[in-house]
């Protein structure tokens, strides 16, 4: 399954949830869904903005781990 390491990148860049949401033009609620791993999918446009604001690569935020294959697979 795909794991989002957003909290790790946020800690590295020393940016809080509110500030990141403001800079990405997203609501805190939606960003929280991403951060807590509750999201089902992420748009390329969102990933694009995330990488731009956090100055990182998609691989820094997204990670594949062996786990429950049913998560996200419908």
């Amino acid at each position: 399954m795909i794991v989002i390491n957003l909290d790790v990148m946020m800690a590295k860049r020393k940016i809080g949830l509110a500030e990141l949401a403001l800079r990405m033009d997203l609501t805190q609620a939606n960003l929280s869904i991403l951060k807590n791993g509750k999201g089902r999918a992420i748009r390329f446009s969102t990933l694009n903005r995330l990488c731009k604001v956090l100055n990182c690569q998609p691989g820094d935020i997204l990670e594949y781990v062996e786990g429950d294959e049913n998560d996200g697979d419908e």
Binding site: N30, L34, K38, R40, A41, I42, R43, T46
Partner: protein, 152 residues
């Protein structure tokens, strides 16, 4: 989101039907006497028919009121978010209630058969199947909506 006029008219109609249904159910014994006095019904001469038809109509009326109440609950969500699990449950209950009404109509045919009773029985079966079809549709719509809501 502003509701279309049709939804508002439908909601008001449902409330009117519900209130009229409650009044009709409460005054059913009186209405039945008036009906048989005005329109000659040969079945009414049979012993026990009066009690049987009154009980039958009372039960069907209560089940029908329950269906209308479930529809009112669904209509309340239309302006906010209709694709919720609660509405899937409501539609499933409507399906079971309508099928139950159909069964009651066929049971009535075992004792006092009329063409209209049989026709109503078959009609309610179709209505029940329609409700179950809508239930499946809504269940899928809820899944799609959840997928969309959790796509950031």
């Amino acid at each position: 989101m502003k509701e279309p006029i049709v939804s508002n008219v439908l909601r008001v109609t449902l409330y009117i039907v519900f209130v009229a249904g409650i009044i009709g159910t409460i005054t059913l014994p009186f209405m039945l006497e008036t009906y048989t006095a005005v329109l000659y019904d040969t079945y009414y001469l049979l012993p026990g028919y009066r009690q049987f038809i009154l009980t039958f109509l009372m039960v069907v009326a209560v089940l029908g009121l329950w269906v209308v109440w479930e529809l009112i609950c669904i209509m309340r969500t239309v302006s906010l978010d209709p694709f919720v699990s609660k509405n899937v449950g409501s539609l499933r209950r409507i399906g079971f209630l309508v099928i139950l009404i159909s069964v009651l109509f066929f049971l009535k045919c075992l004792y006092y058969v009329t063409f209209l009773t049989m026709a109503c029985g078959f009609l309610f079966i179709v209505c029940g199947l329609f409700a179950f079809t809508l239930c499946s549709l809504f269940r899928q719509a809820v899944a799609f909506k959840e997928e969309n809501d959790l796509t950031i």
